[in-house]
Each structure stands twice: as C-alpha cells, then as structure tokens.
C-alpha cells in the first residue's frame, strides 16, 4: 500500500458516500410507485394503497404497507425478488432481463427528470 492508495480510497469512498447521502436527503416525501417496462412508463401507482400489479406474464409486483417488492419474476436470476422491499424515494428494483424498473418517486416528478 502506498500513500496514493490511501488517498484514492478515501476520496472515492467519500464521493460515493456523499452521492448516496445527496440522493437520500434531497428526496421529498414520496408516494408514487412508477414502473417502467422496456424504457416506457408502464404505470403509476399509489404507494399507500395496497395492490398487486402483474406485468406481462408472471412478473408480480406487490405494494403493501407503503413498501414495494417483487413477488415473482420469470427471469432466471431472480435478483429482483431477492432484493426485498423498497420504501424510500429514488430506491429502485431493477429486473434487467425483463427491462423492468420499479422506482419510488414523489408525485411532482415528471416522466424523465429528477427534480430536486
């Protein structure tokens, strides 16, 4: 280990930590679950009304008690199912094989921009 290694680690570590803090702290109270499928907006749902959404065949998204999780997916890896629940804004569940992206947003957020 050289001194430059330490600098590199400290700097990159703090940048990514700041990045996470920036995202979480700049979020407004969020109540929208937005699902994107293949780059298109698939639907918007209220985070606080429990519901089950089926995307194509056998991809099941569950909204329950202000939390969202993927109940079932038809991909091979099932990473999205294992990821568990999300509840804060800008958290997302991504299923890349099916190109599904589930994001929690605040109501004011427009389709393709993050407004802070």
């Amino acid at each position: 280990m050289k001194k430059s290694d330490i600098y590199l680690i400290v700097i990159s570590f703090s940048i990514s930590l700041l990045f996470i803090l920036w995202i979480t702290h700049s979020s407004k109270p969020s109540s929208m679950v937005v699902i994107y499928v293949e780059k298109e907006e698939y639907g918007r749902y209220d985070l606080f009304s429990d519901q089950i959404i089926e995307i194509e065949d056998s991809n099941i998204v569950v909204i329950e008690n202000g939390m969202v999780y993927m109940e079932e997916a038809n991909c091979t890896g099932k990473d999205c199912v294992h990821q568990g629940t999300i509840q804060y804004s800008y958290q997302s569940i991504v299923c890349l094989p099916n190109q599904i992206n589930i994001v929690i947003q605040s109501k004011e957020d427009t389709y393709d921009s993050i407004t802070y």
Partner: protein, 165 residues
C-alpha cells in the same frame, strides 16, 4: 510458449472456479451486483504480471465460460462491458505506477461499476438507477480493497517472478 499457455489456462481455471464458489455466497444486502468479485484477484494478479493482451484474454474467457455455464447469456453482455472497462482502467493505472496493487484493484472495481451502469442505462434509458449505482460503487470500493489486499498477499507468497514467465 508452453509454459505461458499452461499458466494462462491455469489462471483461467482458477478465475472460473472463483466465480463458481462465489455463487454460493449470498449477497449481504440482497442487491444483485453487490459481491466480492473473487475472480478479480486473478485478473488483478495477471495485470501485474502479464501483458495487457494476456490479462484481457483471461478475463474474456472467464466471462464467456461462466456465462455459458452458470449465469446465462444475458449476464454476458454485462460482465463483458464491465470487464473491458475495468481491465483497460487497471492497465492504464498500472502503467503510471502511481498506485500499488490495492489502488489498481480499487480503480478496476470502480471502472467495472461504471461499465455496468453504462449497459444498464442503455437498457433502461432511465437515470432512476442512480441510487442503485451509488450503492454498487460503495460496495465496489470496499470489495476492491479486499481483492487488492488478497492480490498483494498472493504476490508475496507465490514464488514466481515476472521475468521468467
């Protein structure tokens, strides 16, 4: 020549085995992509000892074989871009001689994440994955340090020298 081919295939086999073993280690926070990257210790090691071409060959063969055997062709595109980004970055950083092997490994991990984010962005065309990326980046730095330290131990313990390969 024979010696070299043997060494390259041995390193390949070790890398593939590392990927296989890693499949049994569950991700600590349940996010896909947050993993140790044991196979990278082999790649970091080869960047240090072998030429760019040889190190790149090892990682491409590893990615191809692990995709076909275990994770499916979808992940091939991901790993391919990630590996390419990471190995080019590590090679360039190694040339400058600023960092030790730990620093090189961290740079490789960061570049790997950037490569994968690029693919994800093209697939989803949506910047809402920024949060996901930030977590991947943070975990990548931590695992990059671990792998770098591991590679450093390897370098010390293995009785080989760069000039007789």
């Amino acid at each position: 020549m024979v010696k070299k081919v043997t060494l390259l295939s041995l390193l390949c086999a070790i890398a593939i085995l590392c990927s296989y073993i890693e499949m049994f280690i569950p991700s600590p926070i349940g996010l896909a992509g947050v993993k140790l990257g044991l196979a990278n210790s082999v790649i970091v090691f080869s960047i240090y000892f072998l030429s760019f071409k040889e190190a790149y060959l090892i990682s491409i063969v590893r990615v191809l074989i692990t995709s076909v055997l275990f994770s499916g062709l979808f992940s091939f595109g991901f790993s391919f871009v990630g590996t390419t980004f990471s190995i080019i970055a590590m090679y360039l950083v190694n040339k400058t001689n600023i960092f030790s092997i730990v620093g090189i490994s961290v740079v490789g991990a960061i570049a790997h994440n950037i490569g994968q984010l690029t693919v994800a962005y093209f697939l989803l065309e949506n910047f809402m994955i920024a949060y996901y990326f930030a977590i991947l980046l943070l975990s990548g730095i931590i695992t990059g340090i671990c792998i770098g330290v591991l590679a450093q131990i390897l370098l010390k313990r293995l009785p080989i020298k760069a000039n007789n390969l």
